[in-house]
Symmetry: C2
Subunit: 453 residues, 2 copies
Amino acid sequence: MARQASDVEVTRQVLASAVAEHRPEALARALRSLPPADAARVLDSLTPFDLGALVTLLGEAQLAELLENMAAMDAAALIVKLGRAQAADVHEHMAPDDAADVVEELNPLQGEAILVAMDAPEAAEVRALLAYPADSAAGLMTQEMVTVSPELTAEEALAAIRRVAREVETIYYVYVTDEDDRLLGVLSLRELVLAPPETPVGELAHRDLITVRAEADQEVAARLLADRGLLAIPVVDEHDRLLGIVTADDAADVLEEEATEDIERLGGSEPLERPYLRTSVRTLVWKRVRWLLVLFVAEAYTGSVLRHYEDTLAAAVSLAFFIPLLIGTGGNTGSQITTTLTRALAVGDVRFGDLLRVLRKELAAAVVLGAIMALATVLRAWTLGVDVQIGMVVAITAASIVVWSAAVAAVLPLVLRRFGIDPAVVSAPLITTVVDGTGLIIYFSVANWLLGL
Amino acid sequence: MARQASDVEVTRQVLASAVAEHRPEALARALRSLPPADAARVLDSLTPFDLGALVTLLGEAQLAELLENMAAMDAAALIVKLGRAQAADVHEHMAPDDAADVVEELNPLQGEAILVAMDAPEAAEVRALLAYPADSAAGLMTQEMVTVSPELTAEEALAAIRRVAREVETIYYVYVTDEDDRLLGVLSLRELVLAPPETPVGELAHRDLITVRAEADQEVAARLLADRGLLAIPVVDEHDRLLGIVTADDAADVLEEEATEDIERLGGSEPLERPYLRTSVRTLVWKRVRWLLVLFVAEAYTGSVLRHYEDTLAAAVSLAFFIPLLIGTGGNTGSQITTTLTRALAVGDVRFGDLLRVLRKELAAAVVLGAIMALATVLRAWTLGVDVQIGMVVAITAASIVVWSAAVAAVLPLVLRRFGIDPAVVSAPLITTVVDGTGLIIYFSVANWLLGL
């Protein structure tokens, strides 16, 4: 799997000779043998002239199939290198949902130019999808599905499928709708194949449907598909009219994308929105500097805390030895909890209603972990050769910081989620920062109390 | 989507009345209306006696379908509550890959008892899957696919599919194999439906196949399925013999699972391996304490650094004010980079060969970010009212720490991946810890040099 950059080079040469020798099949095979991201890289490295020649040889339908599997951004980068007529032809051959994604990546003028040059029915389908937010269920759907009316027999339905099979995205589910397009039921091609030929599909169809509303978040649709192991899920409007379907291949992409965004947020950065190597230095800086500054301002508070306890610190400089260790341990505890809970919220394992259960569990774990870390700090104080009293201050602080940090880290993600804020903003760096200042207050309060300063 | 706990209660009551009134269809509908995890919770809350009655009414096939969509652990928890004969019946009705996953969750004696009670052919299929590691492609596969020999016509192949449709996991791909089970090609049910009835399938089949080897990591198979938008991928042995197929519904689960593990590691914890609420306090402590102690030992080094610079610190106590701020900023920078790169490696956007590109990009971003953070620290030093010289020390340190942290965080994940170590172990806490000690050395070296201490 771990392809090296040289594979891309080899494929480029294979492509070049396939173009030179006019062998469209070898060309298609070479491109399909690559992961879509690599195929995008190879095609992107061609000059517009060579790319045009390649598309002519390959045919628009074959290219459309390749582009459907690429990231929309990569596909858009290739589309702009084609002539307008060729670009429009390729778009006509693409599934409308994928075509709409590509148009969204283009600048509005380029997108409009391509839509105008497309055949009217295909262009209308793409325009209909563009009307929905890109991250809604409707933004993800295709309108190319098989619909039949309930009076058709199984045999007639199969004949109908055969007629439209080339046009639709999946023939594996058949949707039964009434004359107002309202969704009555669904049955799989497999059930249709197995049914007695004379049975009306209205009798065969399942009526307890899992559907998703057009305006629902794309993640909701994707997670339903994945959790239920479905190949497609129907998208309906508020009157239960069938608007389209979201297919499983799009769902996997959405779930990957959402996991990537969560991970980037948990690391304390805004999501990059595009593959790392295609992100400019400027964007990297922009996505990161905001959080770095927010965290800096929050962390700056530690300076005030330390200045406040300047006399304590001057009286016992060895207290300073343990500052990074203590606040680090608090940050680590908090970061373990907050990342675990953020993910559990994202996949639906935990909900706001579980708050008390979560808090009880985390506090119980924190008491044990706090005791272990207190012991560890005593050992460390002993090896650093500081006063026994300082060692006691450090140990008590370690245990308290672990428990305090656990409480904050357990409550914060669930409460944020309750208020509709993505809990992934409670990143490891954020929880560390929150615990740093409060941890220092705990440290010096314990020190003043025990050392009598 | 955000179902409340009370929904579970309502469904429990619906189930109870459906059982009492002997209405198996209402029962099946109520259970199917729930997300699989909730259905598991509801069923788990029944007594073994009630569960047995429910299964008898519902039928083993219906229950098998429900269990297939549940997490294997949840399904196993239900299976152990059934009588041995009933458990074996349910296993016979499950897809062998899902049945094997459940058996793996049971204790070996229970698992063996169920396998012995199953019909021989079904038991043999499950045993064959158990022979492969659970996290390999083969561990994920089902052997229930449609295979045909190349001489069959399209029409004969369709008839063959109709005969086996009830037994197989997917009829949407048809695999063409020779007499030694070697995989020759594949064609979709859609292509078969559209083909002229008399054409031999050997001519229709695609021969440039995407396959996966039995011993490949399950993540490789899952990512291929998702990237190519396939419904299933064939699993072959070293002689290209078809062993089974991995279907798209399993792929989505694997990718979710792998993302969860990565996120938990990035938070500085061992992966929990089961849903959060089902994880005991003891397991939480065990998964976390190892990393907490490793990080503690690594962080303990900061105590030695600070003791080494005790005189500098005593001479200028205000230097201590900035310790959390400076090492915090270094940790934040590192954590942003390492989480982004770990994810980019996981989804295949970045490889070891990109090391120099990544390093160049990150250093360029770090120089800009370092300058911004230096400015921020100067402002903070001014508001804290410390000496101008201390302010300069802090600013130079801030810029240096950001660049240093970026270099470490950019290189470490790629190098670890190169040596086959999961880069997610370079968690936000780990990179923070690494940067803490070295950051302090930078800080006090700059201080000694500029302040002439």
